[in-house]
């Protein structure tokens, strides 16, 4: 292993210990929701999104 690579690994480990992780952005928050709607910025990046809207108009026999 080169000294340069070793230094990079040490730096990465130190960053991980400090809790520094790559910013996953807002889209990751909604990754598990079914697609319903989304808002895109002018570059086409998803800046917000939400799950499906389900409407139910039940006949209430109670």
């Amino acid at each position: 292993m080169t000294e340069g690579l070793a230094a990079e690994i040490r730096e990465a480990l130190a960053a991980a210990r400090r809790g520094e992780t790559e910013d996953l952005g807002s889209f990751a928050r909604y990754a598990d929701e079914p697609n319903g709607w989304r808002v895109l910025d002018p570059d086409g990046n998803v800046v917000d999104s939400g799950g499906q809207t389900v409407t139910e108009a039940s006949a209430d026999a109670g």
Partner: protein
């Protein structure tokens, strides 16, 4: 949550029960939302069971009355939900939008189903694009059912 206009509720109930003269089915269901392509209207306030929400102002890809060209949704069978729209709908805000609800209407603004968007109100800044996911059946962004 009820999500169908009350006038349409009465049309459906009367058409499927013996509320007509001498016990015949009542008012024929007919075509209460017309026979031409339906629209999907976006509102900045919540719709209710008896009234539209306040429609958003026009943007690029959205004109008063709602999205058109929704596409032909997969028909319900055995009571399954209908997904709307088939084709993804997109509109870009030319003034800031706060989107709360939708109304699914006939071409001449006859109200049918309505509903609040998941996680509303949705902020759409100037230049940003709001989309409703299109798809067949369960893949569509809005699912409409009676059960």
């Amino acid at each position: 949550m009820a999500a169908i206009d009350q006038a349409l509720v009465s049309i459906l109930l009367n058409g499927l029960t013996p509320t007509g003269a001498a016990g015949i089915p009542g008012t024929a269901i007919g075509t209460p939302v017309g026979t031409t392509a339906m629209k999907l209207r976006l509102n900045t306030t919540l719709s209710t069971a008896s009234a539209f929400g306040t429609e958003i102002v026009n943007g690029t890809g959205y004109a008063a009355g709602g999205f058109t060209s929704l596409g032909q949704s997969t028909a319900s069978s055995s009571g399954s939900a209908v997904g709307v729209p088939l084709t993804t709908q997109s509109a870009t805000a030319t003034s800031a939008w706060s989107i709360a609800s939708f109304d699914l209407t006939g071409n001449a603004a006859q109200r049918g189903f309505w509903g609040p968007f998941n996680a509303q109100p949705i902020a759409v800044g100037i230049g940003n694009t709001f989309q409703i996911t299109g798809g067949s059946g369960a893949a569509a962004g809005i699912q409409i059912s009676l059960t």
